[in-house]
């Protein structure tokens, strides 16, 4: 069985001129990058555009990757800055990313699978609740739980203090719980 190459080994191959090795890197990280982009831009089509842009940018800047952090952390930094630039350009419900009082509404709910059985699942409601969080909160949750990034790594990605990330993580979880409870209440009301 062929041994799976590490990110660093793949990067070395890309820098040596083997472009196909980059396709393996993309395949490995595309779901994380795409999920993170969705958390920011709240729309599948835009998220795909942002995610593609991130990988192209990462390819161009691969030579400048110092290997002082994980490749994923470096990549998520690109996702963060690209998403922020995208939001600024599109002027999608402009808000301050530090303003915790502002909540972004999900306009396009159709992006979630509307399968009846899945609607009933907890995962569906958690996804829905996450999509109703502030982009920053949703991104921190994704980086911490799905991206398996430490507080320090998240702080580096989002250009924040580690303590700020810690506080934001606590708040994000609390808000997620609130959102989830309100969504489930609505569901119960609809059923009655």
């Amino acid at each position: 069985m062929q041994k799976e190459l590490s990110d660093i080994e793949l990067i070395k191959q890309v820098l040596a001129g083997h472009q196909s090795a980059y396709a393996d890197l993309v395949k490995r990280h595309q779901r994380y990058v795409f999920t993170l982009a969705i958390r920011f831009v709240k729309n599948r089509e835009n998220a795909e555009e942002v995610a593609q842009d991130c990988f192209v940018k990462a390819y161009k800047a691969l030579g400048s990757f110092q290997q002082q952090s994980k490749f994923s952390t470096w990549l998520y930094t690109i996702v963060y800055t690209t998403s922020m630039t995208f939001l600024r350009k599109k002027k999608l419900n402009t808000y301050s990313i530090d303003d915790d009082a502002v909540f972004m509404e999900v306009k396009n709910q159709t992006e979630f699978k509307t399968d009846q059985t899945e609607q009933k699942s907890q995962t569906f409601y958690i996804n829905l609740a996450i999509s109703k969080l502030l982009p920053d909160d949703a991104a921190i949750m994704t980086l911490f739980y799905q991206g398996e990034q430490s507080l320090e790594e998240i702080a580096a990605v989002m250009e924040m203090e580690t303590n700020t990330v810690k506080v934001k993580l606590h708040r994000a979880r609390h808000r997620l719980k609130e959102k989830l409870e309100s969504l489930l209440k609505e569901e119960v009301r609809e059923l009655l």
């Binding site: 993309v26 595309q30 779901r31 795909e48 990988f55 995962t123 958690i126 739980y145 979880r173």
Partner: protein, 162 residues
């Protein structure tokens, strides 16, 4: 968010000190309120961990690689510098200069050391080649070259302005 919840999250995430960890685990054992909240948070965390990552479209990797290829094709020629070619050109000129210097030094008469005299170099008679047709041709080439660079400059200026 209440204090118990915050402490418990720190405990679950492993953000607290050893001492705090001991205190909280003792409280979880003894205090019913703590135990209930801890179980609730653990269940909540399990649910978050169970969330699947979003899947991009089927041809995502292909599209990224295509974008990279098209970006590379768009890179202007001036950024594709072949250093080997530059090296060969430099070597040619250095060799020519050294050859010329060697020729000059070989033809200098070093016997008259009293007064510094310029070496007598027998250059070919250039005047015979400088007839009016050659001069006109040279000037015409200069004008064309000048117009070419002027056009290049205006194009660059126009696009930057745009």
């Amino acid at each position: 968010m209440n204090e118990i919840e915050e402490k418990l999250w720190n405990y679950i995430d492993g953000f607290c000190t050893e001492e705090e960890q001991k205190t909280i685990s003792q409280r979880i054992e003894k205090d019913e309120n703590y135990r209930r909240k801890y179980a609730e948070l653990l269940a909540f965390q399990e649910n978050i961990n169970a969330i699947d990552l979003e899947e991009p479209s089927m041809g995502f990797t292909f599209k990224v690689m295509e974008n990279i290829r098209s970006e590379q094709a768009r890179v202007p020629l001036k950024t594709h510098i072949n250093h080997r070619i530059i090296g060969v050109i430099a070597a040619f000129f250095i060799f020519s200069i050294l050859l010329l210097l060697g020729y000059i030094f070989a033809n200098i008469s070093w016997s008259h050391a009293v007064a510094i005299k310029l070496p007598q170099i027998n250059l070919p008679a250039v005047n015979s080649y400088l007839n009016p047709v050659v001069i006109k041709g040279f000037l015409f080439f200069d004008v064309v070259l000048g117009l070419f660079f002027l056009d290049h400059y205006f194009r660059k200026w126009f696009f930057e302005k745009k």
